[in-house]
């Protein structure tokens, strides 16, 4: 089933009775060439690119719940390439280019909206840092425009420009940044992988990883044993537990990141806006809800819900930046489990076990990386060498101290990210 204007027109005239499921629901086979553990955004995009870029279709994606039921279905949907450090810069630049061709590639409307992202700055030092970041983005081939106070006022007239504690000096506008419909991204990749022959297996939890003589031979699951020549772990939030099945400890602590959605409102916020001084960011969804969040709760947690102190902190920051938000009612909140690495950057690498690969540590920024991560991880699994865009996402960088990517400049230490 392909989507087209004609098809939508025809279905509209015939009661929309011709739409079918977007992917099959196969039973697991006893053996695959490649098993991907984790049916979230990154796992599904990995499977898609394994099939599309490398012609590998004897592949299964194993998901313990339902496809896209984890962090890809619960995030603030922001897509951007405004990274600074070598390693991150080229990766997110590559990922954004994949985003820009994604709907045509997948024949799926992921509602990618390049509405522009503005990072506000509130001091001379912050302005200097953003000038530098903007130059790095431009050098990488992406776009960045420095706005002064009046420039910000033109775009975002509803902010509190009279705030004396956090005066708005200006902002860095990233016009190609924006948002996408997070569920549709998972569904589009799932459908694309399924159409190429990948088995997407839901309600199938991996309970063990089989290793013989230092080489992976398959996995144990709640739906039986599955042999595999290669296994990829892409289970953000649970990376520690799954890696432990292979006898590994990872440089990861799992933390909770909360986010909030207001009731549906008429369009009022056109961009993605971030307020660094108060740890707050916001955009408006296509349904009209204001989608916003702030910092991690900052302690290890798997609760999939947050605690009140960070909720209050986010609401205070919101009211400080844009007092008008006080009129909106919060509809719901959620807490996602994040793989936090000591330097705040991800890991895409081989492990010490032959045939076992790892894609983890996306911290609080995994959504924008979905295309780039899947593309690079598929390349690593298929070719046994890293893709150029993700060559620095090494597992051993903490041990060697070489190639750390501490984007926030806070130090490579667990409790700081």
């Amino acid at each position: 089933m392909r989507f087209s204007g004609w098809r939508i027109f025809r279905e509209g005239l015939t009661g929309n009775k011709g739409w079918g499921p977007h992917w099959r629901d196969p039973a697991p086979k006893s053996e695959y060439d490649i098993v991907i553990i984790g049916g979230g955004g990154h796992g599904l995009s990995t499977a898609y690119y394994l099939a599309k870029e490398h012609g590998l279709t004897n592949v299964a994606v194993l998901e313990k719940g339902y496809l896209g039921g984890g962090n890809v279905g619960r995030n603030t949907t922001i897509v951007r390439a405004n990274y600074f450090l070598p390693g991150n810069s080229e990766f997110y630049s590559h990922s954004l280019k994949l985003w820009e061709g994604l709907e045509a590639d997948l024949n799926y409307n992921v509602m990618h909206s390049q509405r522009g992202l503005i990072n506000l700055f509130h001091s001379d030092g912050q302005r200097d840092a953003f000038v530098r970041r903007g130059n790095a983005m431009i050098n990488q081939g992406d776009d960045a425009i420095l706005l002064d106070r009046d420039g910000v006022r033109k775009h975002l007239p509803y902010l509190d420009f009279d705030n004396t504690r956090f005066p708005i000096y200006g902002g860095l506008l990233h016009p190609r940044g924006g948002t996408a419909r997070h569920d549709a991204v998972a569904w589009g990749y799932a459908r694309g992988a399924d159409r190429r022959g990948v088995d997407l297996i839901q309600n199938c939890e991996v309970t063990g990883i089989d290793i013989q003589n230092g080489r992976v031979t398959g996995v144990q699951t709640t739906r039986g044993a599955i042999r595999a020549k290669k296994v990829g772990i892409v289970v953000a939030g649970r990376s520690g537990q799954v890696a432990a099945m292979a006898g590994m400890r990872l440089p990861i602590e799992s933390h909770i990141l909360q986010a909030f959605v207001s009731e549906g409102l008429k369009p009022c916020i056109d961009h993605v806006v971030s307020f660094g001084m108060g740890h707050f960011y916001i955009s408006q969804s296509d349904k009209g809800g204001l989608v916003f969040g702030g910092d991690l709760d900052f302690y290890a947690s798997y609760a999939a819900r947050g605690n009140l102190p960070m909720t209050e902190h986010v609401m205070e920051a919101a009211m400080t930046l844009m007092p008008m938000i006080g009129k909106a009612r919060v509809l719901r909140s959620w807490g996602g489990i994040m793989d936090m690495t000591p330097d705040g950057s991800p890991i895409i690498d081989k492990t010490g076990v032959d045939g076992l690969y790892l894609d983890c540590g996306w911290c609080y920024g995994g959504f924008k990386a979905v295309p780039g991560s899947g593309f690079a991880f598929a390349h690593l699994i298929a070719q046994d060498r890293p893709h150029d865009s993700a060559a620095r996402y090494r597992l051993d960088r903490f041990r060697t101290g070489v190639g750390l990517m501490d984007e926030e400049g806070t130090g490579a230490q667990h409790n700081l990210h």
Binding site: R238, G240, L250, P251, E253, S254, A300, S301, P309, R399
Partner: protein
Amino acid sequence: MRIPCPICGTRDRREFYYKGAASMLDRPAPDAGAAVWDAYLHLRDNPAGRTRDLWHHEAGCGAWLVVERDTVTHEVFGAKTLEQFHAD
């Protein structure tokens, strides 16, 4: 989440600064080698369930505490000062 400081009593989580897993107390010898130091500084058990971590009662008595809690339910089982913890 509220943390029962042995010195000050039970206080709001906002008075405390989170440092990380209590394995930070098991500091290796200076010459233990890169692999041991890597494991100490970076690698974590990261359990989903009962764990011990270090909190600093920053806005209270200033003590470093070993807090035992559940990472899934956020239930806090107890807290000890480092002196109490090492005495056990």
